[in-house]
Amino acid sequence: MREASYVKALNEALIEEMARDESVFLIGEDLVELGGGSGATKGLAERFGAHRVRQTPLSEAAFVGLAVGAAMTGLRPVVEIMYVDFVTVCMDQIINQAAKLRYMSGGQFTIPLVIRSQGGGGTSEAAQHSQSPEAWFAHTPGLKVVMPATAADAKGLLKSAIRDDNPVVFLEHKLLYATKGEVPKGEYLIPLGQAEVKRPGHDVTLVATSLMVHKSLAAAETIADEISVEVIDPRTLVPLDIDCINASVRKTGRLLVVQEACTRGGFGSEIVRRVTEECFDSLRSAPKVLGGANLPMPFSHPLETACIPQEETIIEAISSLLAPP
């Protein structure tokens, strides 16, 4: 074990999987010199050759389509969409093709495809560069959805995603790339569908994803003397490790979901639905979602800050769960 950044962990996962399996190739914009939007693919063209690191024209529909078709014929493409906001120009290839081809063919094809992208706000890049649309993908049968919050998870989950025989949407967060953590060297796999209790606790179950895991952990730490918060990161939304969440809620009786995506219709609502249905009798107060504002992300920093859950608003939300009605 040694410290590594989230982006380095991604890079390592790519290197290991490309070395392990010749059918893995990378495709996307500016992958070579720039290393893609985050730097995750840096050095890979030198290492594995330009034929395995395919820098494309600015044509997402074409190269995502290419990846889907390549997966149908036995390759294992790892696509990068520079920002997940741009997925709107290649939705068809993901929603109507990648997600459905196996089922529509009666199981005759497998689509071992990973679509990596970065989401999230906090960098004043405004409404078209700050979205968190994981709920769209989670609502599309046939796609797996992964959202790593730590460097180690980034590595372990990306390796598993690449080995998975199904299309996986792998959503990174732009403010996580530089964050560091312990990352196991070499072979390290985290199965898709396995949540992690990032902090144990007994008063409140807090389920958080991506960057919100860190803000939630900070909030939990700050109020640790008053309230004991169990922080769970599902890590993958599809498949969802609902058992882990349910077990915690049965213990605490309280649920808060913290997500950066706007609250209305976000994946938090789905977690609330599942937990409410499956743990109704254990609930001591109403489950709650603290999510982003129901607004396009504004540019100006104070406005943007107001749209994203922050440590203080998370603490408030936790407290409100325990407040007498």
């Binding site: 024209p57 389509g65 078709g69 014929t73 081809l101 005759q108 998975d164």
Partner: protein, 325 residues
Amino acid sequence: MKIAPDRLREMLRLMYRIRAFECRARQLFEENRLRGSFMGALHSYEGEEAVAVGACVALRSDDYILSTHRGHGHCIAKGVDVRFMMAELLGKETGISKGRGGSMHMFNPALGLLGGNGIVGGGIPLALGPAFSAQYRHTDQVTVCFFGDGAACQGNFHESLNLASVWKLPVVYICENNQYAVTTPAHESIAVANVADRAAGYGCPGEVVDGGDVLAVYTAVTKAVQRARESAGPTLLECKTYRYQAHCMVIPDRRDPEELARWREEHDPIYHFEQYLLDRHIMDEAQQSELNEQVHETVEEAVTFAEASPLPNPNTVVEHLWAED
């Protein structure tokens, strides 16, 4: 181009088979409709047989094709057993896609049939995938992508032709210009006289082909396939053709009846080719009748097979979604 007599007769057989299959499928649809049982949308390929046959006969069985919503002809020409197609139309478990796909979603990996598509133009970017895959794996397989005049107005046409050209992918794009997209005439949709003229904008060859002449199609596709196999890149062929039926079974046909009559009388691809074979004594009338009978038998067998086959068990509905299943 010198073509062996066997092969020529085989081309006619395939054209007969497509026409017979389509006629019979329409009948079944009508009967079922009267009984109140749905068969979804059915897009007849009658009138366009020379395109699929001319193109697919120019391919090896390990070459790939991407088909469309009007795809029965492509499947038959690529060698699919019509029993499984007919069973699919009737939604049977023995169907080519186990009843999950239906008319627009027929697949056969062994024959390189990578599926029809319900999204117009949906196959255009997908076709880059098998082409890329062949290049990546150093095989000399070629991919043929069929699409309509309507599909030529989709943005992914542009992205894909360009990318295929820049990367010299072994793909042949075949526009089946049957003059209409549902009720919209091509000349109201396409700013130039020929879709093929757009090839110049992608630095690849483009050619207008008489889509009613199976030999013209065969010749043009053979040349384009050759080019693709030699790593010289894509070709755009535009086959001018005409569909004999309404856009699909549920839409009234309001095209000019004289226009239709003119195409049927002057350009029927089957009649034209029959005469050619008879005139040149490649086939005599006895052979012709035999061919015809065989084809009708094949199609009747398919109907019998399909009707005798069981419907899928609703309890199996979740099967074939995930690769782990």
